[in-house]
């Protein structure tokens, strides 16, 4: 569990340029949750997630991981980074070894594990993200965009994280690459109970996968709750440069044009069910013409 207590982060503190990138945040991330973190570019999402794994230190406040202050002087932050894994934006730019297996072994090696342990962890991680043994000796640079990204995720998984933070893992991927990454993340959450924090610009992805949405603006959370509660607040989302999923707008349009439906559905399948519930109204409308 991660507890965030009244945390601030100030860039260029003490100068005239000081900006509060994170502004008094208090929240809790329980084990096993699948969280979607949304907010426009520059709202503070990346700063926030980098504080969670100790890459940057908060200017004030406290972050507790399983009850311990991660910024305490004698806290083992290297260990923390293996528990709270962070997959950066465009992680494929960080692949550098001559073959995939060696690349994925890099993280565990840094933890000081034995060669054997590193290899077995790397292999397991690569299998988990869908690679076969014959891929292990391939150069990371010969992979497709989606494969590279999966290799990069394997690099973090090999550290056996309890929390996995992904900063826009699907940016630039085609729809199939996107689905394969998100299905993978969702499976890690369900089968291994890994806590997931997914930073995303795609409202459709967030609507389809997560349990909880946190909406960030100007360095703090303005909304926090299950997707159905968040996406009904379309006006508030648009005010901060976001939107609801495409399908929400479609349902609102149908409602505005007289179909008496509930606009809470977040996926097209749910929306179809909701519309079909009103079949009789639709048929009545048609016969009236």
């Amino acid at each position: 569990m991660i507890e965030v207590k009244d945390v601030c982060y100030t860039y260029e503190a003490g100068t005239a340029m000081a900006v509060n990138a994170i502004d008094h945040i208090t929240t809790t991330i329980p084990d096993g949750q699948f969280i979607g973190l949304i907010g426009h570019t520059g709202s503070g999402k990346s700063t926030f997630v980098q504080m969670l794994n100790g890459l940057i230190k908060c200017s004030s406040g406290q972050i507790l991981y399983n009850g311990e202050d991660i910024n305490a002087e004698n806290y083992n932050r290297r260990q923390l980074r293996s528990h709270v894994g962070l997959v950066f934006q465009y992680p494929e730019h960080q692949l550098f070894e001559t073959d995939i297996l060696t690349d994925v072994m890099f993280g565990p090696k840094n933890l000081g594990l034995s060669e054997e342990e590193c290899r077995s962890r790397a292999e397991q991680a690569l299998y988990a993200v869908g690679f076969k043994e014959r891929h292990f000796t391939q150069s990371p640079f010969d992979l497709s965009g989606g494969q590279k990204r999966r290799a990069a995720i394997a690099g973090v998984l090999a550290m056996k994280p309890e929390v996995l933070i992904l900063d826009e893992p699907t940016a630039g991927l085609d729809p199939m690459g996107r689905d394969s990454i998100l299905d993978l993340v969702s499976e890690l959450n369900r089968t291994r109970n890994i806590t997931i924090v997914l930073v995303s610009h795609s409202m459709e992805d967030v609507a389809r996968y997560v349990d909880r949405i946190m909406v960030m603006n100007d360095g703090h959370f303005i909304l926090d709750g299950p997707p159905t509660d968040i996406f009904v607040q379309v006006d508030k989302l648009e005010e901060v440069g976001l939107s609801a999923p495409e399908i929400t707008y479609v349902l609102r349009k149908l409602k505005a044009r007289g179909l008496d439906i509930d606009t809470n559905a977040l996926t097209y399948e749910e929306a179809a069910e909701e519309i079909l519930r009103h079949r009789s109204q639709l048929e009545a409308l048609r016969t009236r013409e």
Binding site: D174, G258, A272
Partner: protein, 289 residues
């Protein structure tokens, strides 16, 4: 405006001594005509050849076989190089890689300055370009303080200032948040409708392709589908086969049709769905109320 005839492009793989080891056919016998003032969208999964095709249009790549003619000029003829790059401007995915100036107006003026345009006219062009993409208020700002959508509009303004007849946008919204995506697509549509510039938009967002006059879908270096957005998106199954999506509203309409509602294929907007369902115009509903 653009005639592509029997275009083939092979990427060569070389070993350490520079000998050709093998080749990969990225473009395989493509024929494509773009007429002046058209808005074209190119879709396709990662690695399908979209970007390779686009790079032929402004002579960043040359055909292995076949010809590409831009506004009467063959791209294989070196004499035409600069003229072609000025007439067919290109905007890439990552705005941070294409902005060079310290101040917005300086960045936008860089292209025309490089072309040897007289100073006075450079300023006229800068003013006009900033106006078209609606960022006049940002002209004195430093580009690295802007949002993603604003940066991408600076890149577009920089291209417009070269007075191109055609602009190729290669996944210009992949790295942007929802409001940034809207800004960029609005700018592209305005360039097409108001300034009559030919637009070629490469994207993974199906919702962005519905504004195009014609859509081309690429697969394995060939054109797998082409037609109006309605024609292309009507074939939901074929699009899925090609590892692509269709817009959410099209999926919803398709699902409703499968469940027995009598709807036409290729519904692209919420209004079209409402019409097809027999719902009255919004204004009529209000009048009745």
């Amino acid at each position: 405006m653009i005639q592509i005839r029997n275009l083939i492009h092979d990427y060569l793989r070389r070993d350490e001594e520079g000998n050709v080891e093998g080749s990969h056919r990225a473009i395989d016998h493509v024929n494509l005509d773009v007429h002046p003032g058209e808005f074209i969208a190119i879709l396709g999964h990662n690695g399908s050849g979209k970007s390779t095709l686009a790079k032929h249009i402004n002579a960043l790549l040359y055909p292995t076989e076949g010809t590409v003619v831009v506004d009467g000029m063959n791209t294989a003829d070196e004499q035409n190089l600069w003229k072609i790059r000025q007439e067919a401007g290109m905007v890439f995915q990552n705005p941070d890689n294409q902005i060079i100036g310290q101040v917005v107006e300086e960045d936008v003026g860089f292209g025309p300055e490089n072309m040897g345009v007289p100073t006075e006219e450079i300023w006229e062009r800068v003013n006009e370009s900033l106006r078209i993409v609606e960022i006049e208020h940002l002209r004195k700002k430093s580009p690295n303080r802007l949002s993603g959508g604003q940066k991408q509009r600076v890149s577009i303004a920089g291209v417009i200032a070269m007075h191109p007849k055609c602009i190729i946008l290669d996944e210009p919204t992949a790295m942007l948040d929802p409001s940034g995506r809207k800004e960029v697509i609005r700018a592209a549509r305005a360039l097409n409708k108001v300034e009559d510039i030919t637009i070629i938009l490469i994207t993974h967002y199906m919702e962005e392709a519905i504004y195009a006059d014609r859509v081309f879908v690429m697969d394995e270096g060939r054109i797998a589908m082409q037609g109006t957005p309605r024609e292309v998106f009507s074939d939901v199954d074929r699009m899925k086969e090609l590892r692509l999506d269709v817009p959410q509203v099209t999926l919803l309409a398709d699902e409703l049709r499968r469940k027995g509602l009598d709807l036409p294929a290729g519904i692209l907007t919420a209004d079209e769905l409402a019409d097809a369902l027999g719902l009255k115009e919004e204004t009529d509903v209000r009048k009745q109320a």
